[in-house]
Symmetry: C2
Subunit: 103 residues, 2 copies
């Protein structure tokens, strides 16, 4: 996904607790829901020792609106009480980008 | 790591080829070298289907200087000819952040 900059990225890094019951269902649900939000551009995730999810958005307003979505608020609450040992959220403006693709 | 914003993040996403000979040594070497750069703040990585590495920097100048480091240039070249199927680099300004830590 290459877009005209600037747009916005949310870098979500985390480590998880041992009890992950319900997590996968909720994570899938939130990804589906995020993709339906106005201003959503894309999402990428990977997890080893640390989990990194980066979601891309057209504007800060789109990010704020998704943060306040009622189902997402419930997921955030479950995240804090059950699934996450810690997490860190960074709101970033993507100023420049370039890519490479092998032939 | 929580810093006074703004600072900068480089989001490097990639998928790899099958022949990864030499990759791990080079990746370790580049991480060690990056940490010695002026303006380096931190780095986080995870890889499943896609690899995501986010490095954090004090300034755009620090990012530019690291990109042009001679050993790093060689690693980038090897990345394009051998290890990476594709990669995407986004230069971002971290405007705001918050974190959570369980008790």
């Amino acid at each position: 996904m290459t877009r005209l900059t600037p747009y916005y990225a949310v870098i979500f890094t985390s480590t998880q607790n041992e009890d992950l019951s319900g997590y996968e269902d909720m994570a899938n649900k939130m990804e589906t829901l995020a993709k339906q939000q106005k201003g959503f551009l894309g999402i990428e995730s990977a997890r080893n020792n640390v989990g990194i999810t980066v979601s891309y958005w057209e504007s800060l307003e789109a990010i704020k609106s998704w943060k306040q979505d009622s189902e997402h608020l419930l997921a955030q609450q479950n995240g804090r009480t059950q699934w996450y040992n810690w997490y860190h959220v960074r709101i970033c403006k993507v100023e420049r980008e370039y890519d490479f693709k092998s032939k």
